[in-house]
Symmetry: C2
Subunit: 333 residues, 2 copies
């Protein structure tokens, strides 16, 4: 095992407490003593024991990130930014996958928290805000994505209504009139998809176009396969559309593949806009027009929230942080 304060102290001929003072940096230590202790530390390659510090101080320096799926590009990119941001704050990031399962999400709330990590960043999928509420004396929690929990829990998200409206308005501005929305998720409590539907309809209404419910194609998840599937249904149903607004880039990429295979030309026959601005979209053919949330800001703000709770008043009123987004126009629309 690694050397402990005691061994360093013996070697340097001082007390444990003095070594601790040297390690901590401050406190009054005579320069000569400090040098001697430092020498012992170097020789023994002393490293503070994280477990002891955690036990003593109640802080582990760990933060958990719980997302449905790391392999999903959007969450992968976000996780990467969170890891970097955590490092800046001398935290380490523990990654958990919920698989979008409600039970799993709930058990994470009870389990991971309180005993290992100092805080939790959760991107809920299946859990409604009311399930998240009951947390007696647990560690700070920040939610990613819009939640109907204003005032109850900190959360960080783009304005999905506005973003969806922007994307749809862009398609309308290209002269498209039959715009399908791929991505509603009526089976989930999660409010994000509902908000994007709302923004989509809003843009149509503003353009004086009627909303055709048949053009709102629900999906099970937000993967490429779901997008491909939705596009197949659209084609099979004989619904003619000249544009797609997909609630995620992955859906868009899946839908594009199917459309291309069925002989559609993009964007001539079919304009496509996505949501998330994942890297794949930039290199797809054609390159995907999309809504780009400021992911770095999400990471920064989420950890900032945790830091504030940890450093300040844990019972301060919950914050709702809105992250900027922008429309990135590429080749697909």
């Amino acid at each position: 095992m690694s050397a402990s304060l005691r061994q360093v102290a013996e070697r340097a001929g001082v007390s444990i407490r003095t070594v601790s003072n040297v390690v901590s940096g401050f406190a009054l230590v005579a320069p000569e003593t400090r040098a001697r202790v430092q020498a012992a530390i170097d020789e023994l390659q002393y490293r503070p024991n994280a477990a002891a510090r955690h036990l003593r101080g109640g802080r582990s320096g760990l933060v958990a990130l719980a997302i449905p799926e790391i392999a999903s590009p959007y969450f992968g990119e976000l996780a990467g930014l969170l890891v970097d941001e955590a490092q800046k704050r001398s935290w380490m990031l523990l990654v958990q996958q919920t698989g979008g399962d409600a039970g799993h999400e709930r058990s994470l709330l009870d389990g991971v928290r309180g005993q290992v990590v100092d805080g939790l960043v959760l991107s809920p999928w299946a859990l409604a805000p009311r399930d998240l509420r009951r947390r007696p004396d647990a560690v700070p929690l920040v939610l990613l994505g819009e939640q109907d929990a204003d005032g109850l829990l900190d959360h960080v998200a783009v304005d999905s209504v506005a973003a969806a409206r922007d994307a749809t308005a862009h398609l309308l501005a290209q002269g498209r009139t039959r715009i399908a929305a791929i991505g509603p998720q009526p089976h989930l409590e999660n409010g994000t998809a509902a908000r994007r539907v709302e923004g989509y309809r809003k843009a149509l209404a503003e353009a004086g176009l009627p909303a055709d419910p048949r053009l709102e194609i629900p999906v099970d998840r937000l993967h490429r396969a779901d997008g491909a599937d939705a596009m197949r249904r659209l084609i099979a149903d004989g619904l003619e559309v000249d544009a797609l607004f997909c609630f995620s880039d992955q859906l868009a990429l899946g839908a594009m593949q199917t459309a291309l295979r069925h002989g559609r030309t993009i964007p001539a026959d079919l304009a496509v806009a996505g949501f998330d601005d994942i890297e794949d979209g930039r290199y797809a053919t054609p390159a995907l027009t999309t809504i780009a949330p400021d992911k770095a800001a999400i990471a920064r703000e989420a950890l900032g929230c945790l830091a504030d709770r940890l450093g300040g008043d844990p019972a301060a009123p919950a914050r709702r942080i809105v992250i900027p987004h922008r429309l990135v126009v590429r080749d697909s629309a």
Copy 2:
């Protein structure tokens, strides 16, 4: 804070030790006592304190994964599998990003290890095996990717020579003769790229074709942008090729986009094969032919290695685990 053993003990009217026995599951505890203690545990919502257990037992239940970049699809998919596999073993996964920086990789070896995690899974990028060797009494380490460290460190990887040979042979079998290899990295010590070059040349030699050094296009990293860049250079240099073997799917996707933009048809004009079998490749247009490493096996074996070290002899001879791969033929070649 959460309840401790002491408080449960007081409530149940037994000693701390007895509560500990109940929590641990075994040891001799009278059914009646056990029930009483269990009731107290439930009432107080007792959760074992991870820090204390770690301090006492020396095991944190945490394993670190250090990879160049989570946002990269290959590593994202791998990380997801490792998280799941870790969960099966009741570990939690701490994710670190090295950014492919040697200093960062080195500091992870010294820092993360020994004090917080029980083991480390490292995918080295810039570090040569000799840098990894000096680790006095550190936690178990498993390397991902082939390393010239046989006998020194555990590592888990596909047989890159064979895999690259398979991919190239497939292109040859399609009648291609001018096959470029995109992905050599002469500036790195990392042996993976060198092995893939070796497999590529081997296949050419077996087909009786000469190796043209101008067709081996070096790249800085393995991103889409690097692939796109390599393809641009190939075109700018006026080198006519009828196939590409790219050392990663990302390189392949980047190269494909550039080729398509320059009017090439895939696979008619240009057959493309990648490496990694990331999901993007399956949904690219055309869908990407690639080498698919058994990523689940990588995750399983890597953690298995750690488990063996932790459970058995830490000084057992190092193992070299070869992961199966297969060629997945899709539309691009």
